[in-house]
Assembly symmetry: C2
Homo-oligomer: 491 residues x 2
């Protein structure tokens, strides 16, 4: 197996190679669209399952709305429409016919032109609020707490596997409420759900914050986000939760009779995370040997590899290995025994390192004699020899330790890469030499934000929810500021 | 609540009303596309979960392939392309812009025309086999056993909720094999998986068979199917499994080196079931009061309704009801306690009947005194009074009984509506007066099939896998025939 490009050599190349070599995804025959391969999809399914469980625990139900949005509905909420107009795939015809010049080819049938063009959903607020209109008459019909698992399309010129693709998979929650307070509470609750899953399941520490008006979702009154830091110091927006005010209710005329018998527009939220999380996962934990997966979402948590000469020895080792296998499986641990004879142990070791399997158990003739195994941790590449006694309990605890250690490592990296600066000079120096997040004062204007972005490529990732009140002077304009915000270059 | 149209009055109207009133789905603002509402989606999720489990048990993995298929790939397998060309949604542009005549409206940007049109997948053989090309070099790369959960679009002029919609949800399995025998074995295995889930989980009896060449999937060498009978005697194709031969391997040049070191084209299968199964479920079991759900896929299996006067009595009943609730829940039964005070018991009874909740437990003051409850079965509308003692065990067994009885009822109906006929006169008479499936001899030609279809609207649903060898004379041409096939009008 050819080695990966290292992160130091070329971080971007390392990422692309890793995604393909670890069998996570690959580019397809369709510009900007990827194929998510079985191993990558298995990880995504685990993320989905965890999110879905949390959504249901917080009272949400799944539903499904159409892929296509008629142009007249799409343009109804003008800010939203304007925000997405430049990246819309548009269906204009509904039939092909045989090419009169070549019976083996097809052409679009010009007679099958749609009266109204259909937009392939880049997000579903429009089609969903058009539907909610008939579901909402009274405060008794509220709240509506719905989530959808779906594919969406946002035409992108420069695409990267998982991080930016024309089509991607995501979930989008769309809720309707009787009061502003309740809608804001929902927006915040779902941000917490995202932070919880991303931190405790994916082992990625995040900072919760608000987006600046410039970076808000098109059509939102407030966008909350969770921001993660990749190993190259760049930020990745891992999830967003939007308070949409009454914007969509007004655009689609969704009124209800409130408790006082008065007509009122409904209050909305929407929130989403996507297959982009796969990119965050890969870039937060992995190393030059390949993927590093937190045990909670590893499709294979433990692999057992026999080291043997001849079939007889393999048979002897297999008796013990199968016993370990059964005991681990009985504990609900996902385990694989790789007794293939056509591959050497060294090849298998490299393969499971590349695939990020958290624990590898190797067993040879000497282990058989000593009633031991060798356990290798993928995260820190350490090895130890353990007795077979109570091995399953030890492994179970070790998986928890690994999960925690992976999180701590990422958290330490991030803490080391958040730098407070108080001058624009220092800002540029840190950004250039150290990278990471820069905590600095901002004057609250789009102008300063824009200037910094143009001059340094750094954007305001968020105004942290827990930002302390603090007197300061903004980086460029020198105007007074009351709290620090986080700047970074971002994916 | 307004009553449903009865099945006898207007079966088609009954179906449409039921789907909407039971909150399963509704038409959307997009022609031919439906909204699957939370209650309907919860049932679909259960069907999905069961299928997904079986797919994984039989060695398949999930993956995800692009929504869009470039026209040049789409047309590569000519029969497949020809079969779907007339119902393809086509993306021709990738951007909108502000209408110069109206700043509040958008128009398709003529400068953002795609060089090559993209077809919204009506099925994914083309895009998947184009991908498999790079995955398959040697017999060691085979088999590839992949499934995808996805949305697909087939433009339909006349649509019906769940049964025929422009966009629908489905799964599509796509496998590649080294030998013809193995591919055929896979095709048959997946047909068995479908029959198993549809019969034992959805409680819908099916007949397994082959499609005639006329009715085959475009691009298949053989199409296997499962056919179900609805309560109006019409057939519904519930799932298909296709042996695709080497057709797609040839179209996309997918060759591998076999064990003998020779280059060979790979062998393919594909198989799918869709949200159409929801239509089959509704039409097989439901009655004039609403939905009837087999317990195995009911989102709520048991509902407990208190019958009370005043808060004090409600509190007393609730103590016992909550105890029942906990005991049922501990057994893994999905149970709901509906103690809402704003609705009367009669309203709740009708509501849960409409929603098809398999068992209803009602509890009033007298029950409290006698330590009893009233249990009502949704399937046969019978009621009985039971002691509280061991109630949870009784309910658990009763749910199994209900599941079996629902299946048997559907099976009896079907058996009574399969009629052997030996003349075309009789065929027309039975079709007109009794409906159902007609078992008759056919001469094996597309001509006779076509003539019968044109004259009676009945098509050959399948050649049953278990059809007995039997000398006979075909209905129209009078030619000899060696086995009976099944005719019916179909959804």
């Amino acid at each position: 197996m050819a080695k990966l490009t290292t992160r130091n050599e070329d971080y971007s190349k390392w990422y692309n190679e890793l995604v393909v070599k670890a069998d996570l995804a690959e580019n397809s025959g369709v510009r900007g669209s990827m194929v998510i391969k079985p191993y990558g999809y298995a990880i995504w399914e685990k993320i989905q399952a965890e999110l879905d469980k949390k959504f249901k625990e917080t009272g949400h139900q799944n539903a499904y709305f159409p892929l296509f949005v008629p142009k007249s509905l799409f343009e109804a909420e003008e800010k939203n429409a304007e925000g997405f107009a430049k990246e819309c795939a548009v269906v204009t015809h509904y039939r092909l016919k045989t090419d009169p010049n070549n019976p083996h080819k097809l052409i679009v049938d010009p007679e099958a032109k749609l009266e109204e063009e259909l937009i392939v959903r880049p997000t579903s607020e429009a089609i969903i609020w058009n539907t909610y209109k008939s579901w909402i008459q009274s405060y008794r019909d509220l709240p509506i707490l719905i989530n959808q698992w779906a594919n969406v399309v946002r035409w992108e010129m420069r695409t990267r596997l998982f991080l930016r693709t024309a089509e991607f998979l995501w979930q989008e929650g769309h809720t309707a409420h009787a009061t502003k307070e309740e809608a804001i509470e929902e927006t915040e609750k779902m941000l917490e759900v995202y932070a919880d899953v991303v931190e405790n399941f994916m082992a990625i520490p995040v900072i919760k914050g608000f987006k600046t008006p410039t970076e808000r979702f098109a059509g939102a009154d407030e966008t909350y986000c969770i921001e993660a830091m990749m190993q190259d110091g760049k930020a990745l927006q891992a999830g967003t939760s939007h308070f949409l005010g009454q914007n969509f209710a007004k655009a689609f005329d969704v009124k209800f009779t409130n408790r006082e018998g008065k007509q009122e527009f409904a209050w909305a939220t929407s929130w989403g995370v996507s297959t982009r999380l796969m990119g965050a996962l890969i870039m937060t934990h992995s190393d030059d040997f390949g993927l590093v997966l937190p045990p909670k979402l590893a499709p294979i948590q433990v692999v057992i590899v026999p080291i043997f000469k001849g079939e007889e020895q393999l048979a002897e080792i297999s008796v013990v290995a199968n016993d370990i296998f059964d005991k681990l499986k009985a504990k609900g641990i996902s385990v694989k025994y790789d007794d293939r004879t056509e591959y050497k142990p060294g090849w298998k070791f490299a393969e499971y390192e590349l695939k990020g399997v958290p624990l590898r158990i190797a067993m040879g003739a000497r282990d058989l004699e000593n009633k031991t195994v060798e356990i290798a941790r993928r995260d820190n590449l350490t090895k130890e020899v353990r007795s077979l006694e109570n091995l399953e309990n030890y492994i179970e605890e070790l998986l928890i330790t690994v999960q925690n250690d992976i999180y701590k490592k990422a958290e330490n990296y991030r803490e080391e890469h958040i730098t407070k600066v108080d001058s624009y000079e220092e800002f540029k120096k840190v950004l250039e030499e150290k990278g990471g997040f820069i905590s600095a004062h901002w004057d609250g204007t789009a102008e300063e934000e824009e200037q910094i972005k143009n001059e340094t490529k750094a954007t305001i990732r968020c105004i942290p929810l827990d930002a302390k009140e603090e007197q300061g002077i903004s980086l460029v304009s020198g105007k007074p500021s009351s709290k620090r915000v986080l700047f970074a270059k971002a994916y």
